[in-house]
């Protein structure tokens, strides 16, 4: 247990937070890369999931992408990308792109399932009212799919914070660097201190995005009775 006391001591020492190699910089890098990755992955996956779900196509890809993603180690892709010539290589662009690829499956699967789970009668009714395809998508399917889209966002966000740590092994910064350079220097308080900070960041992400998800569920259950509870667990296991 002494090791944890030392690690907390290391974390509470203001010295370790300052400078270009300090925890402050690493934490900002970690949050910055994670936020950027989540943005890129969301902009790519959610419209695609909505579109595929709206058309009812691409089910095999949308559902099974996660299985492929699980089989590929993050470390492998990050190192391969770091070795490739520009614009890839050991740079932020390359890392954000690699992490986005891993964040696509939970976002795509949950968005797709969310749209497909919208009651077909509701969609038919919307069409009967004279709504165009675009209107059905934006005014009916998207609002009703929102809770699952936010589930995807939470799963992707937590995963990104975790995989962003691996960047530190490859070269770049972020909090993984704190852990790996602690290993290189044989500085155990730094290794464990870095690990504690990463863990707290991941748990905080899970908590905040979880609140956002519950907010979306509550808003949606106001407009549509019994949506989330039945549909959620299945879709979650498909993506987790």
């Amino acid at each position: 247990m002494n090791a944890f006391v030392d690690a907390f001591g290391w974390l509470l020492d203001g010295e370790n937070w300052s400078g270009g190699q300090g925890l402050g910089t690493r934490l900002v890098e970690h949050i910055g890369i994670s936020a950027l990755t989540l943005l890129v992955a969301t902009l790519a996956a959610v419209p695609l999931g909505l579109w595929l779900g709206h058309l009812g196509r691409g089910q095999v890809v949308a559902i099974n992408l996660g299985n492929v993603g699980r089989a590929v180690p993050t470390l492998a892709v990050l190192v391969l990308f770091a070795f490739l010539p520009a614009p890839l290589g050991a740079n932020t662009f390359s890392f954000v792109l690699a992490l986005s690829l891993f964040a696509l499956p939970p976002l795509l699967t949950n968005t797709y399932v969310g749209v497909r789970e919208v009651d077909r009668d509701v969609v038919d009714a919307a069409r009967g009212l004279g709504m165009s395809g675009w209107e059905v998508l934006t005014k009916v399917e998207l609002p009703l799919a929102a809770p699952l889209v936010f589930t995807g966002l939470r799963l992707a966000g937590v995963q990104i914070v975790a995989t962003a740590t691996v960047i530190g092994l490859v070269s770049g910064g972020a909090l993984g660097r704190t852990i790996s350079s602690g290993f290189t220097r044989g500085d155990q308080p730094q290794v464990i201190g870095g690990a504690i900070l990463v863990t707290l960041l991941a748990l905080l992400t899970e908590y905040l995005l979880g609140r956002l998800e519950r907010l979306a569920q509550r808003r949606s259950s106001g407009s549509q009775a019994q949506q989330a509870p039945a549909g959620m667990p299945g879709a979650q296991t498909a993506a987790a």
Partner: protein, 245 residues
């Protein structure tokens, strides 16, 4: 004829080495991505890494399953325990692997045990959820019928609930196994990552062929493990075959 002989002599004079002539067509020296010579020369090292990878994965899944099954069966009858398990498994699953291994260092040090305990925790959370979901998915009418036939609790579990839960349990086993194969690579941070060690070394020495071979082998291992489990699942749930096709 004469010129070939002259070149050979020149090469021998030039470096005094018999390898001089082969330098130009050596993919190791040119650091190429695809290099059969690497696989040839480092065969034993690669096989050793694969062996360690398989060992870590199998132990993590077997131990995880051995803990998950009894725990799921007990948790089903205890609401508090069930809530506790679901909450703590979410917390554990949220901890990044690169942070979990260091957090275990004070207990188990730089050892293969650290990696296995970390991976057991992950596989455990996946398996627990799926075993519980599988057992809960058994229709109430089926349980009523089994009760009516006079099956005791034990026989109910083994003869009715478990077989009906098998597809969900196997889904969990496959997810846990495939993720464990991928996560094992991160064990390289404490020196026991199977193929992850090769990736890590290759990274530090900028060795392209080694990185590519290790990456490909990782994916191949994951796919093979998945197919193996699928075959086992088909074998133990023969009644599902018709429904599946």
């Amino acid at each position: 004829m004469g010129s070939v002989g002259a070149v050979r002599t020149l090469a021998q004079l030039d470096s005094g080495s018999v390898h001089a002539a082969s330098v130009a067509d050596n993919c190791l020296l040119r650091n190429e991505w695809v290099c059969p010579l690497y696989v040839q020369q480092r065969q034993s090292q690669i096989l050793e890494a694969v062996g360690e990878h398989v060992q870590i994965t199998v132990l993590s899944i077997v131990i995880g399953a051995a803990i998950a099954f009894p725990l799921a069966v007990v948790a089903r009858r205890n609401r508090h325990l069930r809530g506790f398990i679901l909450n703590s498994s979410t917390v554990i699953y949220t901890i990044p692997s690169l942070a979990l291994f260091p957090l275990l260092l004070p207990f188990t040090g730089l050892s293969i045990t650290t990696v296995i305990i970390g991976l057991v925790l992950y596989s455990l959370t996946i398996l627990l959820r799926n075993v519980m979901a599988g057992l809960e998915s058994v229709p109430a009418e089926v349980l009523d019928a089994a009760n009516g036939m006079g099956l005791g609790r034990r026989r109910l579990l083994w003869r009715v609930e478990l077989p009906l839960a098998l597809p969900t349990i196997f889904a969990g086993l496959r997810i846990a196994t495939v993720s464990t194969v991928a996560l094992t690579t991160i064990g390289a941070v404490v020196g026991y990552g199977g193929l992850g060690n090769l990736i890590f070394q290759g990274l530090n020495s900028f060795f392209r062929a080694q990185v590519l071979v290790a990456c490909v082998l990782c994916v191949v291992l994951a796919v093979l493990a998945d197919l193996l489990l699928l075959a086992v699942q088909r074998g133990v749930t023969p009644w599902q075959r018709g429904a599946r096709a």
